[in-house]
């Protein structure tokens, strides 16, 4: 892991917003960590701890108040091509069918969709298990299927980095578990550097190489946990005693009072 150069690097990042009342809101402070190539890293924390802000900093949509976010050693100043984003909601376009939703980034960025893009879209739909749904309307799909389309869309431009902002949190519990295993399968077939925002401890444990546990606002890194379970992870991983033990440890971290500093 250490042999590879960091894909994403946070250098003492601080983020301060101006609230509606004009007072500054300290969202993130002292973030300093690295993410290596093809590493799957989850960011876990209570709501309002700035998890999504952290993701937007990597995407280049917002800029840190202090410090710097680097991708491949270069400071992020604007959105970059290496990044694909999956949001909490699928946010697909209802006027397009499934396939055209997947090719949308191409149409939107370059103005046209070529034959190869359509072939690529079909390939990705096959990858996410929706090969037979290319011509379906969006409202004919379930929530889980829609999120699969969103993942295919994020992969269209073949990004090195996949940013996922609580992508399964709007799904029901069963679909959610299914999607976690699906994501593991997709990730093993198309290795990417993944930054995965979640507030689910089992989800983070099942998916990640490392987990960044965040504190409440101002959000900062409380602990970075190496997840020891061997891959490929399966249903058995969930029932591993070590899994429960680690989950309890993280739960303890999250619910304990802020560390005296």
């Amino acid at each position: 892991m250490a042999a590879n150069p960091p894909v994403i690097r946070f250098r003492d990042v601080e983020q301060i917003f101006t609230g509606n009342d004009g007072r500054p809101i300290h969202a993130l402070t002292g973030l300093d960590f690295e993410i290596s190539r093809h590493e799957f890293v989850s960011v876990l924390g209570p709501s309002g701890c700035g998890k999504s802000t952290l993701l937007r900093l990597v995407s280049g949509l917002i800029h840190p108040s202090a410090g710097a976010v680097e991708i491949y050693g270069m400071e992020v100043t604007e959105p970059r091509d290496e990044i694909g984003i999956v949001f909490q909601k699928p946010t697909l376009l209802p006027w397009f069918n499934v396939q055209n939703n997947v090719t949308f980034p191409m149409r939107h960025k370059y103005g046209r969709v070529h034959k190869e893009d359509n072939e690529r879209a079909l390939e990705l739909l096959d990858l996410v298990g929706l090969a037979d749904f290319a011509q379906k309307r969006i409202d004919e799909l379930s929530g889980g299927m829609q999120q699969r389309v969103a993942i295919a869309r994020a992969l269209l431009l073949d990004p090195d980095i996949l940013l996922m902002d609580e992508p399964f949190s709007a799904l029901d519990a069963l679909t959610r578990d299914e999607m976690s295993f699906e994501l593991l399968r997709i990730w093993s077939e198309r290795p990417k550097t993944v930054l995965f925002i979640t507030h689910s401890i089992p989800e983070a444990l099942l998916l990640s190489d490392r987990i960044i546990v965040m504190s409440e606002r101002p959000g900062t890194v409380r602990e970075i946990i190496d997840v020891p379970f061997a891959r490929p992870r399966t249903m058995q991983t969930l029932s591993d005693p070590a899994f429960t033990e680690l989950a309890n440890h993280i739960r303890g971290e999250l619910f304990s009072k802020p560390a005296a500093a």
């Binding site: 949509l61 959105p79 909490q88 209802p94 960025k109 969006i138």
Partner: protein, 257 residues
């Protein structure tokens, strides 16, 4: 039994109309209501057929032409205006109050002034129709443009697609349900605007026909003009609904597709 209920359900709207007409007809006959107070449905139909078809066509064409021109002008101006309003806070802060003032001015009161200013012909009528129709289109379209999910805008920005594509690929299509509901409301408004203009100054058109018939106390004939106006409004309304269903079915609620 089940079939009878289904049939009743299906023809309920038609039957309701027929019942009202029947009661109306019976009332005028039973209470001997003079036709200048409330003409019976049959006398209205008779009066309608009493007018030469070529005369009807002339009046309908005059009204339809002005209504459609004013409506088209409203769309042509309202949509770009809505785009500018949604894009610029400064513009929306400066223009919006003015739009509200224009909207708050009773169009019937302004109509004679506009006719004096712009003279005879279609021009003042088109302007009056435009003024009454464009406000709902601007407001609804602006709301729609701003109702786009934040994530999609972020997706667009992360792709660095540019503002123009953001508007045409994402915001405008997302505003279509809003735009279409305004377009439907505006069809009736367009007909109202045209009729108001024709009341003030016209020598043709259904508004003129009604005013003219009333002044000669031909009340059944005035009513027949009214019926044609309603049919015209309904047709325009349905036409917009048809366009929406044909070209943007996803913008309709599932039950209406």
């Amino acid at each position: 039994m089940k079939n009878i209920i289904r049939l009743l359900d299906r023809f309920a709207p038609v039957m309701a109309v027929v019942c009202v007409l029947g009661i109306w007809q019976a009332a005028t006959w039973l209470f001997a209501i003079p036709s200048f107070l409330l003409p019976s449905p049959t006398s209205i139909v008779a009066a309608g057929f009493g007018v030469d078809p070529s005369v009807w066509i002339g009046h309908i064409w005059a009204t339809l032409r002005v209504a459609v021109m004013g409506y088209a002008l409203a769309i042509a101006i309202a949509i770009p205006l809505a785009i500018s309003l949604s894009m610029s806070r400064l513009l929306s802060r400066t223009l919006y109050p003015m739009l509200v003032v224009i909207q708050s001015t009773p169009i019937v009161a302004v109509a004679p002034i506009i006719v004096v200013t712009l003279g005879a012909g279609d021009m003042p009528k088109v302007v009056i129709t435009f003024l009454i129709t464009f406000f709902p289109i601007v407001v609804s379209t602006t709301t729609g443009l701003l109702a786009t999910p934040e994530e999609l805008i972020e997706l667009s920005r992360s792709l660095r697609a540019g503002r123009t594509r953001e508007i045409f690929h994402i915001r405008l299509p997302y505003a279509l349900p809003f735009l279409f509901s305004a377009l439907k409301i505006s069809t009736t408004l367009a007909v109202i605007g045209t009729v108001v203009a024709e009341f003030v100054a016209a020598e043709k058109g259904l508004g003129f026909f009604i005013a003219f018939s009333t002044s000669f106390f031909k009340i059944p004939q005035a009513f027949s003009g009214l019926v044609i106006l309603v049919l015209l409004s309904l047709t325009l309304f349905r036409l917009v609904g048809f366009v929406q269903k044909r070209f943007a079915p996803w913008s309709l609620p599932k039950s209406e597709r």
